[in-house]
């Protein structure tokens, strides 16, 4: 009998869900809505500021971990949601969402290495 992949996927889901619960609202407030609503200094999202933040490899490692986990959390929950909405082609759904998360992770790693 083959081993189940469930523990890995569920572990990523739980870890990513926890990270998202603590980090995501403020992260969106700063990166997505804050500048437009005048709550966040405009310079925050400027090139130089972000490059300065990401010069330390520790910051880059943390950014990778945080975004990676949230991405896989979303992928797994999206798979379950598709099932809940009546889509029964689970293998296809799983392939699509995990492939998207895998590609996203790869792109994220490449971007952070290049910065």
């Amino acid at each position: 009998m083959g081993r189940s992949h469930k523990p890995i996927v569920w572990g990523l889901f739980a870890a990513g869900g926890t990270v998202a619960a603590f980090v995501l609202p403020m992260l969106i407030l700063i990166t997505g809505t804050g500048v437009g609503l005048g709550l966040v200094p405009e310079s925050t999202l400027q090139y130089d500021n972000l490059r300065a933040l990401l010069t330390h490899s520790l910051t880059r490692l943390v950014v990778f971990g945080v975004l990676f986990l949230m991405l896989w959390h979303a992928a797994h929950r999206l798979r379950i949601t598709a099932h809940d909405l009546g889509v029964r082609a689970d293998t296809l759904v799983a392939t699509v969402v995990y492939a998207a998360a895998g590609l996203g992770s790869l792109l994220l790693a490449l971007a952070l290495i290049a910065i």
Partner: protein, 131 residues
Amino acid sequence: MSRPYIRPVSRTGWWLAQPRYVRYMLREISSLFIGGYMLIMITGLYRLSQGPQEYAAFLTALLGPAGVAYALVTLVFAAYHTYTWFIVTPKAMPLVIAGKRVPGPLIVAAHWLGFAVVSVALWLLMTAGGA
């Protein structure tokens, strides 16, 4: 013998039947917006790695009406995710200290305190450079 009665349930619309099913579905749908936001952030970092001009074009789109509207919707879903995640935590991971079970509301409150600390820290870290 007669066949047992099986109540017909819609495969796609079952969750509209009860408010708590709707709340469940809203929680699950958060993943669509959160996943999308992650892809936006990854794109932003990728543009950042390419250079100032590429990043400037990304930033213009991000701060445009569509970008801000998407972020606002995702912010609401993310806040709802936090709320539901913290509520479930004492049930998913009951905490026992010195043989006594820690009350659920205390665990939830501790998580909100942690949320406040993390949020302030993130704010200071990200906005400090631009001040």
